[in-house]
């Protein structure tokens, strides 16, 4: 712990090169003599070096932009999309005159007076008005609704993945237990999931859930193949699909995606 009375904010300003001449010399002299401050200042300097590393990324981005062409591109966009520039209103000019003449306190006083007067008038004159539906009105921001929609989409995807997992296990049996398949019931569920996927596609695209979409597409392909086979599934076909599922680590990936969706990643 450094107990030196020298202000540490001074070193920082010194290291950033923002300290005025006289103070800079004082700090430089102090740092020569005080090992504790020198050590702390060195650590601050290394942090600032980290900022330089990030600055390199910014410089790289700056170099990759065509600055000659950009003004014309921006002008085209602005002149195509913008309305005529707003002019300062009469009220704005009065306000500007107030502020330019150094009358900010007066302006603030006038504004406060108007505000208090209005509030007083409102309190005196207001009449309680009975509202329909008991005054219970609910509002939600666009951002909140977006979040809610995203959450719904996530839950539906998790639900779809879970049901698909059960159906696939029914068809193929777990790799370890080699349980017997029950194609009759599972086939109907697979068809149901295929139609559900059509609805889910819109949600997956809308929220750009690329990984979830990729795994749902793979499941859909399997269901489509299963749906094309009529009657009992031949053992060879079943083994082929089982291999495919194991090879692609489909169950593991379904679990990973489910976990990510449940954690809201």
């Amino acid at each position: 712990m450094n107990n030196c009375p020298m202000k540490r904010s001074d070193w920082l300003t010194y290291l950033s090169g923002d300290l005025e001449e006289g103070r800079r010399t004082t700090v430089a002299e102090h740092l020569k003599e005080c090992p504790e401050c020198r050590k702390d200042a060195e650590e601050f300097r290394r942090v600032l070096d980290g900022a330089d590393a990030v600055k390199g990324e910014i410089q790289e981005a700056l170099r990759s932009v065509d600055w000659e062409a950009l003004p014309a591109r921006i002008a085209n966009y602005v002149y195509a999309n913008a309305e005529k520039p707003a002019e300062l209103s009469a009220g704005g000019r009065v306000r500007m005159w107030f502020l330019q003449a150094g009358l900010r306190p007066v302006a603030a006083g006038v504004a406060m007076g108007v505000l208090l007067g209005s509030l007083g008038m409102y309190l005196v004159l207001r009449r309680p008005v009975p509202r329909p539906n008991g005054g219970k009105t609910y509002y939600a921001s666009g951002e909140f609704l977006d979040r809610a929609e995203l959450e719904m989409a996530r839950r539906e995807t998790v639900d779809y993945l879970e049901q698909s997992q059960y159906v696939l296990l029914d068809f193929l049996g777990t790799p370890s237990s080699q349980a017997a398949a029950r194609p009759g019931l599972s086939m109907a569920q697979a068809r149901e999931l295929l139609s559900k996927k059509k609805y889910l596609n819109r949600e997956l695209d809308k929220f750009q859930m690329a990984k979830a979409k990729a795994i749902c597409d793979q499941i859909e392909m399997l269901f489509l193949e299963l749906a094309q086979v009529s009657g009992d599934l031949p053992e060879a076909e079943l083994a082929k699909m089982r291999n495919l599922v194991e090879e692609r680590q489909l169950f593991l990936k379904i679990n990973l995606i489910k976990r990510e969706l449940q954690n809201g990643v």
Binding site: A53, V54, A61, W67, L256, V265
Partner: protein, 200 residues
């Protein structure tokens, strides 16, 4: 172009009278005056947007939106005020709005990793070595800073603005800007200790 001074990042800055006259010409529909303002400040606005959005295309969208607002508000600029501060304040607000609007969609889903590249748990263990990279650690730590500390730090070190320019852009006093900067660096030092090989 002899009225211009060279600024950081190769950007340029005009003196207040020239800016007032350029904005007046913009209001009269002078496209060339608008392009001159864009040429003067495009890089500064880009650095501000890029610092917040960390993506070139998004930053360029924010630059475009910022100049659209400047065009629309050119009549409300008060001569004598700090134009660059006003502009960067708009750029900051536009970039933050852009970030908030696209945040949900810009999480991991947006970069569609091929399914076969999804890391299985065994592969996951190697991610520790990537995390030790100082630059990514630094970026993460800057993200962790409180909003105002982060903004002051980015303006000082990425935009290379002076404290008086930062105070104008954020509408705070120079003393507050310096104090927020100090707190930001102190926090970064604390969080980066393991990465910089420093003793606590």
């Amino acid at each position: 172009m002899d009225i211009l001074d060279k600024g950081p990042h190769g950007g340029l800055a005009a003196n207040p009278d020239d800016i007032a006259s350029l904005l007046e010409r913009i209001q009269k529909g002078d496209r060339e005056a608008f392009m001159t303002v864009v040429r003067l400040y495009q890089q500064k606005v880009f650095v501000m947007a890029f610092s917040i959005l960390r993506n070139k295309e998004d930053a360029l969208d924010a630059v475009q939106e910022t100049f659209l607002r400047i065009y629309q508000k050119s009549g409300t600029y008060r001569p004598g005020n700090n134009f660059q501060g006003w502009l960067l304040q708009i750029a900051k607000n536009v970039s933050i709005d852009y970030y908030r609007k696209h945040r949900q969609k810009r999480q991991e889903w947006e970069t569609p990793t091929p399914l076969d590249d999804i890391p299985v748990p065994v592969v996951d263990k190697t991610s520790d070595s990537r995390d030790s990279d100082l630059r990514s650690a630094f970026t993460r730590c800057v993200e962790k800073l409180a909003a105002k500390q982060k903004m002051v730090f980015m303006m000082r070190h990425y935009n290379e603005l002076q404290f008086n320019e930062i105070s104008a852009a954020l509408e705070i006093s120079v003393g507050t800007a310096k104090s927020l900067h100090f707190k930001a660096v102190r926090n970064l030092r604390k969080w980066l200790t393991p990465y910089l090989g420093m003793e606590r």
